[in-house]
């Protein structure tokens, strides 16, 4: 039986090769179907990867805690309006929430920065040293400030790439240079590696970091020492985020002495929330792609069925001869199924090739990132084989049920 299958497939190939134009045109539907699946999934995966990279650029496993809204006589102000979070909140969270890896804090204000005869207005952030690791910032030049510099309220600054581009001439190393922030001189000790746009479209590199203590005592001022603009925390693993959020809420409510009927005076956000929205968009796109691809596979399958019906009619005499020399129904059935599946699988293979080319062309022409997905290739190829099988059954069965005498007499 083994040799029967090998020879049947061989015969199918030879017959299809003889009618090259017809076979080629028949497979076009499958080629388009499979090709578009591969290309579109590649584009989709590329987009998803880009979004994930963008979310990761905010710092993975990051938890952001913002001060709550002020509520005066039923009128609710905007989030961050009240000063309810402090450095001590952060230190206490670090002690009481075991899943937290690091906690940090920051406060910010937009200030004028002067270097030589250049000036820019940039958000200046007073931060704890831990902030840099929570947000995954790295350096292209120089390095972070130390706990010691934090304690001594040193006048040192870290510059984002956009600020460097605006203040310095290309090629000039800002490290060691002096700038003035609201007329206070600061020494630049590090340049941050660029992160690009945030998922919300902000330029994350248009930023300056200075030690938190320096900021509250020398530059930004404060309502009371230790009040912060926002708390940051990170967990070791993303799975720990939900538990950490619950613990943080409990600890902070306890520290702020909130009664059970009072609302939170803070807001907790995680990267998961931001990523979800983006992935939802990706899923809609994927569903659309799959419906387009299924339609072309369906059309391709009908094409195969059509050409096979023609082929069965054309080769009625041949079927009769095969039956006369001893072919059983299943032999005829398998022969035509093999032809249908050969057509669809060759179409599938060509489709995979065109899909990969299409994805790469998209990257070159449109500049979109694409990732060739091995799973998509396997699924699309198996789908094309299934299309051949399903749409081959009717014509093959028609051939197998022919009466040998009628088939032999057919002109």
């Amino acid at each position: 039986m083994g040799s029967f299958f090998v020879l049947t497939v061989f015969t199918a190939f030879r017959f299809l090769n003889r009618n090259r134009l017809r076979s080629g045109l028949t497979t076009v539907g499958i080629i388009i179907g499979v090709g578009s699946v591969i290309a579109m999934v590649s584009i989709g995966e590329g987009a998803k990867f880009a979004i994930q990279a963008q979310v990761a650029s905010m710092g993975t496993n990051m938890i952001l805690i913002l001060p709550g809204a002020t509520s005066v006589g039923g009128v609710r102000g905007g989030s961050g309006g009240a000063v309810t979070l402090t450095v001590n909140d952060a230190l206490d969270l670090q002690k009481k929430v075991p899943t937290l890896h690091e906690t940090g804090w920051a406060k910010r204000d937009v200030m004028q920065i002067v270097y030589g005869n250049q000036n820019v207005n940039v958000p200046v952030n007073g931060i704890s040293p831990t902030y840099l690791t929570i947000r995954d910032w790295s350096f292209t030049s120089g390095g972070p400030f130390t706990e010691g510099e934090m304690e001594t309220t040193s006048r040192v600054a870290l510059l984002g790439q956009t600020v460097v581009d605006n203040l310095f001439v290309p090629g000039e190393d800002p490290v060691g240079k002096m700038i003035r922030i609201r007329n206070v001189p600061f020494r630049i000790i590090g340049v941050l590696a660029p992160k690009g746009q945030s998922p919300t479209g902000n330029d994350q590199d248009d930023i300056i970091f200075i030690p938190f203590t320096t900021a509250e005592r020398r530059v930004l001022g404060t309502q009371f020492l230790g009040s912060v603009g926002a708390l940051f925390a990170s967990t070791e693993r993303p799975e720990d985020l939900p538990a950490a959020v619950e613990d943080i809420q409990r600890v902070l409510r306890d520290r702020h002495r909130l009664q059970p009927d009072q609302p939170d005076d803070f807001t907790i956000r995680t990267q998961v929330d931001i990523g979800k929205v983006q992935e939802g968009t990706g899923e809609t796109l994927t569903i659309m792609m799959f419906s387009v691809a299924s339609i072309s596979l369906l059309v391709g399958g009908i094409g195969i069925m059509n050409i096979l019906l023609v082929s069965v009619t054309e080769r009625t005499r041949e079927i009769g001869i095969r039956m006369a020399v001893g072919a059983k129904r299943r032999h005829i059935l398998i022969q035509f199924l093999a032809e249908a599946m050969t057509l669809s699988m060759v179409g599938g293979l060509l489709g995979v090739g065109f899909g990969i080319l299409g994805a790469q062309a998209t990257t070159i022409v449109a500049g979109w990132p694409t990732i060739i997905s091995f799973e998509a290739i396997m699924v699309a190829f198996l789908f094309s084989a299934a299309v051949g099988l399903i749409f081959g059954i009717y014509p093959a069965n028609k051939a197998a049920r022919l009466n040998p005498i009628d088939a032999l007499r057919y002109e």
Partner: protein, 238 residues
């Protein structure tokens, strides 16, 4: 009728339905054939000779009556059982050669063995000796269109022989051939009958073709008109 009969038909009849009319192609045929006979079935078109051959060749089943082949009643066999019998027991030669187009002579001859599920190697070697038997050893890789009518019919004979059948059925085997080729074909049949003891049944309407056979059966209107054994040719009864 004893078990020694290769073929034993009893009251065999076949009725076709053409539109609203029933056509009685065979009306109660009684026929016994011994192994090793060379028989010619003659008759004008519409006499039922092709219908008889189709039933004897297991391409069709009778409407009524019994048909025993090798002692087995197969009047009511299923299509796949009939295919199995055709594959092992019967070889066909048709008027229009009936080779598969664009397929080499060797592969055409291999076809019955392919459906028997033999290994490619065995298919090859048996097909080669069958082609050699009909004098076409040097035409193995020719396509049907590259062969003359006589050669194509010899390929068809090789294909009928390759599965070592006990019965060879030929429907007007020389109908499309010139005298010279017809003679060659009939010589091969005669040689197969005499040398190998193969039972051969030829359907023809030509008297000089029928003369090669040792027994002539005349049909008319679905009945056997006459059944005579040629004097001098001799019957080979086992």
């Amino acid at each position: 009728m004893t078990m020694s009969h290769l073929i034993a038909c009893n009251n065999l009849s076949k009725t076709y339905r053409l539109g609203d009319i029933d056509v009685e192609a065979l009306r109660g045929i009684n026929l016994a054939i011994q192994p090793g006979e060379f028989i010619a079935i003659m008759g004008s078109s519409g006499s039922g000779k092709s219908t008889l051959m189709n039933i004897l060749g297991c391409l069709d089943v009778p409407t009524a009556g019994s048909y025993c082949l090798n002692g087995r009643d197969i009047a009511h066999a299923e299509p796949d059982e009939l295919a199995e019998i055709r594959s092992r027991t019967i070889g066909f030669v048709f008027q229009n050669f009936s080779l598969i187009p664009k397929t080499s002579a060797l592969e055409n001859v291999q076809l019955p063995l392919f459906y028997q599920g033999l290994s490619l190697r065995e298919q090859r070697s048996r097909a080669q000796s069958a082609l050699a038997r009909v004098g076409l050893a040097n035409r193995e890789h020719h396509y049907p269109t590259q062969l003359s009518g006589g050669q194509q019919q010899r390929v068809a004979i090789a294909r009928a022989l390759v599965s070592a059948p006990s019965l060879l059925l030929a429907d007007e085997p020389t109908g499309n051939l010139d005298t010279q080729s017809s003679q060659e074909i009939m010589d091969i049949f005669q040689s197969l009958n005499h040398t190998d003891g193969l039972t051969i049944l030829v359907v023809t309407h030509e008297i000089d073709i029928a003369a090669y056979a040792s027994r002539q059966i005349q049909m008319r209107d679905g009945c056997i008109l006459s059944d005579q054994t040629s004097i001098g040719m001799g019957m080979r009864v086992s």
